[in-house]
């Protein structure tokens, strides 16, 4: 709280001439409209005066004649700095020189909204396919999917089907392409490693292989429908996405969520975290060639899945959160069963913690590998277990409490080593911590209503909502224009934040470290990508209509 107020004071005192409008509608949430091109001053000020200030993301909104760029800064709360550029000539100065972590966010805005950032080191496509026609910016309000783009995409100018041509092997350096299909990646994404012998010289990545256009689709669905849409962004952290989105909409509509609902949200959210972390610890075992660990961890994850099924009716996609509360109550018998399962999993989780602490081969493979120093972690604005593994105790649950976290005692796990081992250990310990939170929440469940009725139409307004997803800080930005449909939904998942630092971590490491480091980031590419379907085999590209998305979102949303 202090940090946040300090941040606002600093901006007020030093940048009074640049602030057009300052609005603090809720505690720890500020929206500041700046004069054009003054965003750099504001961001440098915050970085200088506020400890551990990070950029959450940049979200762009097409306002009709202007494009509004929101720089969401996390400093105790969320300070949203607004910089407007004209739609005809959308050019602004980059902030990558101040904050390298903004690299991917600026590329995303460039890709989807067509804003050019002056001075950006490599302003290239991020999400959209290489053969996407120039001058088409899908997140602008007037953009419509074309009926038939097949012919267009086959023409010479626009299509660039095989990216392999650009890879030149020079001397002893060879290019090793991992992905879109590779055993280390459980979702399609392409990494190109320049390898000299067994050493990685450099790494490049290409995202967008599972870009499903969820942000665009969300604009054409009503708020209450969007809850189900954002749930499909990621199967594993679905509760984080729905919690985050519901909070944003509740914020816009000034809805008072009942305390029992907040506790139930917390419980489901933490169950999500437990099974996500256990999943990753198992996958880490697999990536490091420790199959037994993998199989055992996944076996012990099952009681959690059973619990989620018992509470929500579904193993994975809980469909639990709704705007204004939750959909189902928890029966006393379920509470009892859950407490039993929690106890059981806690024992196993403690055992796995000792495995990661003591197993010699695991430590040999993870210690000192993929080191991200404290200053680099801040510079690249990484999130979640990655930043906590680098010795910075950033956790939205503590810094900006939401749901019931303000009332539940828990510790923020933090390791100072900054290597792969530390990142895995953070997760191993967080499992136990999360189980404690569930335990506490179940014992202190307040009585009362589950849900308040919320109208379909929401008042005009905007809201930023942050939650601590299993992989790190998740941020949703929702803007409403007074109808039942959101004007803009922006999602930034933690993986996108963490990927910026990946080339830095992997440079100079061995090939064998690639799976270890990728694993320790716990990447979730379906979260990271969200618009167009691309068949990389023949460069054929198509759009899905809303109905098709509706019919298939189950399938594509998983994992």
């Amino acid at each position: 709280m202090e940090k946040f107020e300090n941040a606002i004071e600093v901006l007020k005192n030093n940048l009074a001439d640049a602030i057009v409008e300052l609005n603090v509608p809720k505690p720890r949430k500020a929206y500041i409209l700046l004069k054009p091109e003054r965003h750099r001053d504001a961001i440098s000020l915050l970085l200088k005066h506020v400890e551990d200030a990070e950029l959450s993301t940049i979200s762009g909104t097409d306002l009709g004649n202007e494009i509004e760029l929101n720089y969401h800064m996390a400093c105790g709360g969320t300070v949203t700095l607004k910089n407007r550029v004209s739609r005809e000539k959308p050019v602004t100065r980059t902030i990558t020189d101040i904050l390298p972590g903004a690299n991917l966010y600026e590329r995303e805005v460039f890709d989807l909204l067509g804003v050019t950032f002056d001075g950006h080191p490599n302003l290239e496509r991020l999400m959209l396919p290489d053969n996407w026609p120039k001058g088409e910016y899908p997140l602008r309000r007037d953009w419509e999917p074309h009926a038939n783009q097949e012919n267009e995409s086959n023409s010479e100018e626009t299509s660039q089907t095989e990216p392999a041509a650009e890879l030149d092997d020079a001397g002893s350096v060879i290019n090793v392409v991992m992905g879109p299909q590779h055993p280390v990646l459980h979702e399609p994404e392409r990494f190109t490693f320049k390898v000299d012998g067994e050493r990685v010289v450099d790494a490049e990545m290409r995202l967008g292989y599972v870009h499903r256009g969820i942000e665009k689709a969300a604009e054409s669905m009503m708020f209450f429908q969007d809850v189900f849409l954002v749930e499909r962004i990621c199967g594993i952290c679905n509760a984080a996405h729905t919690t985050c989105f519901c909070q944003a909409v509740e914020d816009i509509g000034n809805v008072e969520t009942p305390p029992r609902a907040l506790y139930l949200r917390t419980i489901i959210h933490e169950l999500n975290r437990v099974h996500s972390h256990l999943l990753l610890l198992g996958v880490a075992g697999h990536l490091l060639g420790f199959e037994s660990l993998f199989q055992h961890v996944w076996r012990d994850r099952e009681p959690i899945m059973d619990t989620v099924e018992r509470i929500t009716g579904n193993r994975l996609m809980s469909g639990f959160n709704a705007i204004g509360g939750v959909r189902r109550d928890i029966a006393p018998s379920t509470v009892e069963k859950t407490l039993k399962n929690v106890e059981e999993v806690r024992k196993r989780a403690k055992f796995y913690k000792t495995v990661f602490e003591e197993d010699a081969t695991l430590r040999l493979r993870t210690e000192g590998v993929g080191v991200l120093s404290k200053s680099d972690a801040l510079k690249f604005c990484v999130e979640g277990p990655v930043v906590r593994g680098s010795g910075i105790a950033v956790d939205v649950r503590k810094d900006d409490p939401y749901a019931a976290y303000g009332e539940i005692p828990f510790n923020v796990i933090c390791y100072n080593e900054g290597d792969t081992w530390a990142r895995l250990m953070v997760r191993a310990e967080e499992v136990v911590e999360s189980l404690n939170i569930i335990d506490y929440a179940l014992h202190n469940l307040p009585p009362g209503r589950l849900r308040v009725r919320v109208q379909r139409k929401q008042p005009e307004g905007e809201a930023v909502s942050r939650v601590e997803a299993p992989r790190g800080e998740l941020i949703h930005y929702v803007k409403s224009d007074g109808t039942a449909y959101p004007y803009r939904v922006k999602v930034r998942s933690p993986t996108l934040a963490n990927l910026v630092a990946f080339p830095e971590m992997i440079r100079g490491a061995y090939i064998a470290d690639i799976p270890a480091v990728i694993g320790s980031l716990d990447p979730c590419f379906s979260c990271t990508d969200r618009m167009v379907f691309l068949d990389t085999q023949n460069g054929h590209r198509w759009h899905w209509s809303l109905d098709e998305i509706n019919n298939s979102k189950n399938r594509n949303g998983l994992m």
Partner: protein, 330 residues
């Protein structure tokens, strides 16, 4: 003529080709089943009793699948390398006395231990060539790793194999096994333990399965292979596994000789050989299942800085204690 019949029967049926094949498939199944139980899985369960026919089903499937040779590869090398590796491993197995004598009767000679180790080395070069001929970055990295790792571990393996030969004053495998009234593992446990570690690396088992680390380099040297040629690579891996286990059994555990020998000696020879080899396989699998994969640099450091000096030391220790052991060994 009768001699020829026996010769053919021994080479082709028992204890030659067919028997070895069945043995290899059995160990393949055993290995998978042990690994599965360690990992809290069922393992092969449906094909035959306890899924024991699963390996043979897999090989039938592989042999009947489409066999692709990539355009840019060196065709001759690409086709010949797996077959070469397979035949060298199979040939090496002919010198392991499973029923008390070699597959080809009276073919044992002073120095066939060296021949077997040489054949295993050459066969590994065959595996290296198979990856090198594939012209795929993953295969090339895999092939380089095979060679890097193999060169580091073949030397200590050979040094350690001298220990038993020294105790029995013979370089013939048959003589080494025959001279073990009590297994050498009891007299020189240091060599025995080291041999196990080195063998683990030589067989590319966890924590040394670096050449085909799937999460790093997909299939390693076998990435480009499919169908029959892949079957040959898989078979040669299985044969190498059997050779490794058989070498421990013959050099350190008394081979086909055991405490109970009556009636048909051949039966008991095969029985004891199997019992010991199964034990060795179990230990190899155990180690493989409780460790993570190491990195190639760690493995190379481990071999040149640790295992080679240690194996020389253990050989020296064997030479020093040999006179006092002489009375017990007889």
């Amino acid at each position: 003529m009768a001699l020829d019949l026996i010769f053919f029967a021994r080479v082709l049926v028992f204890p030659g080709f067919l028997f070895l094949l069945v043995l290899v498939l059995f160990f393949d199944w055993l290995e998978r089943k042990i690994a599965a139980r360690f990992q809290n899985r069922m393992g092969p369960s449906y094909t035959g009793p306890f899924g024991i026919l699963q390996p043979i089903a897999d090989y039938i499937k592989l042999f009947s699948k489409e066999d692709i040779t990539p355009k840019q590869t060196n065709k001759l090398l690409f086709v010949a390398a797996p077959i070469l590796a397979f035949s060298l491993f199979a040939f090496a197995l002919f010198f392991i006395p499973i029923d008390g004598s070699n597959v080809i009767l009276n073919s044992s000679f002073e120095g066939d231990l060296i021949l077997v180790l040489l054949l295993v080395t050459l066969a590994n070069f065959g595996i290296f060539l198979s990856g090198w001929a594939s012209l795929n970055p993953y295969s090339e990295i895999g092939a380089t790793r095979v060679l890097t790792q193999f060169l580091g571990y073949d030397i200590p393996l050979i040094i350690l194999a001298i220990g038993p030969a020294f105790l029995s004053k013979s370089l013939s495998i048959v003589n080494i096994t025959a001279s073990q009234t009590l297994p050498f593992a009891l007299f020189i446990p240091w060599s025995f333990a080291l041999f196990f570690i080195v063998l683990q690396a030589e067989l590319e088992k966890d924590p040394f399965d670096i050449p085909h680390a799937e999460t790093e380099i997909v299939g390693g040297y076998e990435t480009e292979y499919s169908g029959r040629k892949l079957a040959f690579i898989k078979l040669s891996e299985d044969f190498q596994f059997l050779i490794g286990a058989a070498l421990v059994t013959t050099l350190f555990l008394g081979g086909a000789h055991g405490p109970v020998l009556f009636g048909v000696p051949e039966f008991w020879h095969v029985f004891w050989f199997m019992v010991k080899t199964v034990g060795v396989v179990f230990v190899l699998e155990y180690v493989g299942n409780v460790s993570a994969r190491l990195r190639i640099d760690q493995v190379v450091h481990g071999s040149w800085k640790l295992l080679i000096p240690l194996s020389i030391l253990s050989l020296a220790l064997t030479v020093i204690v040999e006179p006092s052991l002489r009375s017990v060994i007889g």
